[in-house]
Symmetry: C2
Amino acid sequence: MIDSEIPRDHPRYASLVTRHRIEAGVERGITSKQGLIAQGRGEAFDYLLGERTLPSADAAARAAAAHLLSANRPVISVNGNVAALVPEETIALAGVVGADLEVNLFNRTEERMEAIADHLHAHGATEIKGLTGDGEIPGLAHARGTVDADGIESADVVVVPLEDGDRAEALAAMGKTEIVIDLNPGSRSPRTADVPIIDNVLRAVPNMTAHARELADASPAELQAIRETFDPEATLAAAERAIREGEFADEE
Amino acid sequence: MIDSEIPRDHPRYASLVTRHRIEAGVERGITSKQGLIAQGRGEAFDYLLGERTLPSADAAARAAAAHLLSANRPVISVNGNVAALVPEETIALAGVVGADLEVNLFNRTEERMEAIADHLHAHGATEIKGLTGDGEIPGLAHARGTVDADGIESADVVVVPLEDGDRAEALAAMGKTEIVIDLNPGSRSPRTADVPIIDNVLRAVPNMTAHARELADASPAELQAIRETFDPEATLAAAERAIREGEFADEE
């Protein structure tokens, strides 16, 4: 099965595409065993959210776009699941907001780093950071904290989709503005973020790009207003509420 | 890391052991990619349940034990995740209630069937059914419906942990008394079951064994009373309520 064989109007399109892409990611050496388990956790939360973008998640995606457009050195961090799930979508977002792409893995191996960089190149990316590894996120064990000095280390705004809690906290401690995409509103990563987007990356990344396109001509004052009126606590609370009040139905 | 290196009193013991065993299952060719994703879904629901056995799940495990002790031909179905997660625990349960063990896979390949049978033998099982495949569950595609004629096909009570919805319904349509272990109270499998146990297999299987040991000398009338007073709808509703009312906290 290839993506194009799944009808776009299928009620569970995102879910089917997601599962297909993540399995292909395993074949290519991009997605790890931990990545598959994380995918399953995400599926469960997305199912409880009704597999839709909440209005609060849409507002977060808009705030994220405003931050990225206002940034001096925005960087989008790409791990195995992000590369497998939304390669083109992430490259498109980077292009629209002028961000760098940096491969950054929780379990860093040269093999996976290169497989992911190759995969992004195959999807049209020109420059990929992360392979140099001459910088660090302070406060983390070496392999966990390795980044590029002219990439994540010197970024002012970072997008870290599907990030683990320790690294999200260490990045926040560096004073960076942090945008996290995660489906569990209780996770430490979105709770640490300046802009937590509680949504499936397959919906959230294109949505950020759409907002960025719409805001391309906005004035600095307009972007500032969008950034400052966004309330991260409220978006987390809205997602929790949606999960608690959601329908329980078969997830198959 | 081996299981014994994880302290029994660790607050997240079940979660750590589960993840360790499932990854070892992949190395041994027992757990599939789909199994890893399913594991992740289970983790998310277990986290929302507070990673504990609800009183309603304990009552379900007791009712399941009563059904198994009253059965003429009880069979416990073993798939890749069950074999990886609870091999000894499942063999112990089969021994206490006098049930057969049958390997039964959603994606049946001879290679995985044999890897699972070998794994169960290595953990002390003597007879393993499922490899003959001379019976069927009517109403399913061939590979999905293949079972042993003197195993699941002729069983009166079946335990199907982590079963998919189509097969759970097809087994119910055969008139079997069905015991399902699943962490999502909204899934079709527990909704189809006579006895849905909304719990982690790592807790539920030993718990069923403990109840079976305690009920070993119970009279047929006592066992009948336990079976008949159990309410599957109430146990599903209690689990849904626990998920809705549970604490959101970091799952890492």
